[in-house]
């Protein structure tokens, strides 16, 4: 496999945008082209577009060639759209990475995009039932908030996690989000304010939930040879894994307070890179709900199983703690445009490594970051690892 670097990253403002899907694609495209001024568009030979439900929210399919047209790219090697619901964006990075690593592509573009806010918001909400088993769980109203509410209830029941500990995740991510000008929400919050916000699905309130968001994010990936010509600050893709534990429907999920698929995915990644959880400096994790981040601390091995609540309460996931988790504000602050989120996580790590983020959320000295993206009702877990150093040059397993 060839070494593959991220040589450019660009993002749009996330939020309730008065902008269409195609506008968002062009904004993110321009942002990434501006980020790599040495790049001649003609050098881009491949394009992967992460988009979860454009056929529902903008009634458009076959979106990859549409993006090529909007960005003026002639694709000669690999072009496709990726869809794995909430992790469609990371999937796009993964396939672009594989294409470059295999030698099929030399310069590949990744665009993650979702336009979720429309005049028909209850239709947007209704579309979310399709990510679970529509016929058997969707028909019971199983959208994301009630599912993650059940996870929270079981985690509180099984491990004694408290309501306040859930809220503390939002407090941390809101603090970092307040220093992120691209985030949908840039206001700090308190534990009380989270708990007193509008009830969505008990125990989860509105501030426990990531939002319905419009946004796009784009990357340029290149082979080592091309990367040298394009940037002085390449960020290397050093590994990636995915895991689904046979599960899509409730009957296959087992105990809701354990995410066995994530535990297995993390173990695979750590073995692949010969690292331990302690080696990770930055973890962008999928905090679609506050409870998600607590389970992720545990299943990624940052703390013992059941102690995720204590981990946030002790401040271990803040910058300066055991591992900096979601220093960009996470999904809770940025919002969650499904196809853009996984790409936004990579963008954050690139900006951190380059030192191009405000000092209040800068993780100094970081050299290894992971991005965990989950999809659907946490049935499928995706992790990628990014580093300032090439895999062969990093002394992992310290």
């Amino acid at each position: 496999m060839r070494n593959v670097a991220i040589v450019g990253a660009g993002i749009t403002k996330f939020g309730v945008r008065e902008a269409g899907w195609k506008d968002l694609v062009q904004e993110a495209g321009k942002a990434v082209f501006d980020d790599v001024p040495n790049l001649d568009k003609k050098e881009i030979d491949s394009l992967i577009v992460g988009a979860a439900q454009p056929e529902r929210w903008i009634n458009q399919t076959h979106v990859a060639p549409l993006v090529a047209e909007l960005l003026g790219i002639e694709v000669k090697r690999v072009i496709s759209r990726t869809e794995v619901a909430c992790a469609s964006g990371q999937a796009a990075i993964r396939y672009a990475w594989l294409a470059v690593a295999m030698g099929l592509s030399d310069v590949a573009m990744v665009v993650g995009v979702e336009k979720m806010n429309t005049r028909f918001m209850n239709f947007s909400q209704s579309s979310m039932i399709n990510v679970g088993n529509r016929e058997f769980d969707g028909a019971n109203g199983f959208t994301a908030p009630p599912f993650f509410a059940l996870v929270a209830q079981r985690h509180m029941h099984d491990f004694g996690t408290t309501r306040e500990q859930l809220a503390m995740v939002r407090v941390k991510n809101a603090e970092y989000g307040s220093y992120n000008p691209y985030a949908q929400f840039q206001k700090k919050v308190t534990v009380e304010k989270v708990i007193e916000s509008r009830m969505v699905a008990p125990p989860l309130t509105l501030f426990d939930c990531s939002a319905i968001t419009d946004g796009a994010c784009a990357l340029i990936l290149a082979s080592e040879e091309k990367a040298k010509q394009l940037t002085d600050t390449p960020v290397w893709i050093v590994g990636g894994v995915q895991h689904v534990d046979y599960a899509h429907t409730t009957n296959q999920m087992g105990d809701l307070s354990h995410w066995v698929g994530l535990r297995k995915a993390a173990k695979d990644l750590y073995e692949m890179l010969n690292i331990k959880p302690d080696d990770i400096d930055i973890a962008e994790v999928h905090d679609c709900f506050t409870i998600s981040e607590i389970l992720e601390y545990e299943e990624l091995g940052f703390c013992k199983k059941g102690e995720g609540g204590k981990f946030i309460e002790e401040g271990q996931s803040y910058i300066g703690g055991k591992v900096a988790v979601n220093p960009g504000g996470g999904l809770l602050s940025n919002g969650h445009p499904l196809g853009a989120t996984g790409v936004r996580q990579a963008w954050e790590i690139v900006m951190q490594f380059r030192g191009e983020v405000p000092k209040e959320r800068y993780v100094g000295g970081a050299e290894l970051g992971i991005a965990h993206n989950l999809s659907g009702m946490a049935q499928l877990h995706h992790i990628m690892a990014y580093s300032l150093k090439k895999r062969s040059d990093v002394k992992f397993g310290r």
Partner: protein
């Protein structure tokens, strides 16, 4: 010359993309291979399957056992009494077609000896509020009739506390 006008109908029939029970067709191009599951509901029984080859219990129903690939599956009744494993109440963001029934409880219940020899199934609850329930409550399933649009009649299930 008068401007040409293309007139659209005021209403269109219920779109299958917002209908939650759109996959229950016995025949025709939309036919499902597990239609007997819906026949069983109409006859008053919530059923899963047991693979006659490897013995694995299957839910939701399928036409081929995902463990051993056997097509010899038999219908088994889900035990009438189960345990409430987890629950919440959908207060915001209900799917359009059931908006009128929100807020309603969404629960996961375990029937039989799950996971070794039982089922874990999601279901709606309409008769109890969130505050009236606790983990471990004994619950049962019952048949829900889905009426409309027009004279269409389909079947589903819901949970209630015993």
């Amino acid at each position: 010359m008068a401007r040409r006008v293309l007139e659209l109908p005021d209403t269109v029939p219920l779109s299958p993309i917002i209908d939650l029970w759109d996959q229950q067709e016995p025949d025709g191009p939309d036919a499902t291979g597990i239609y007997d599951f819906y026949r069983n509901l109409a006859d008053g029984e919530l059923t899963g399957q047991k693979c006659l080859s490897c013995g694995k219990l299957i839910f939701p129903p399928q036409i081929i056992c995902p463990s051993c690939n056997s097509t010899e599956l038999e219908w088994v009744k889900i035990p009438e009494e189960g345990e409430l494993y987890a629950f919440t109440e959908l207060k915001l963001g209900a799917p359009i077609i059931v908006e009128n029934y929100a807020p309603f409880v969404i629960a996961v219940a375990r029937f039989g000896n799950y996971p070794e020899n039982g089922f874990q199934i999601s279901g709606m609850m309409f008769d109890e509020s969130y505050e009236e329930l606790k983990i471990g409550d004994r619950i049962t399933w019952d048949i829900l009739e889905i009426k409309g649009p027009g004279d269409k009649k389909r079947y589903w299930y819901y949970f209630r506390k015993l």
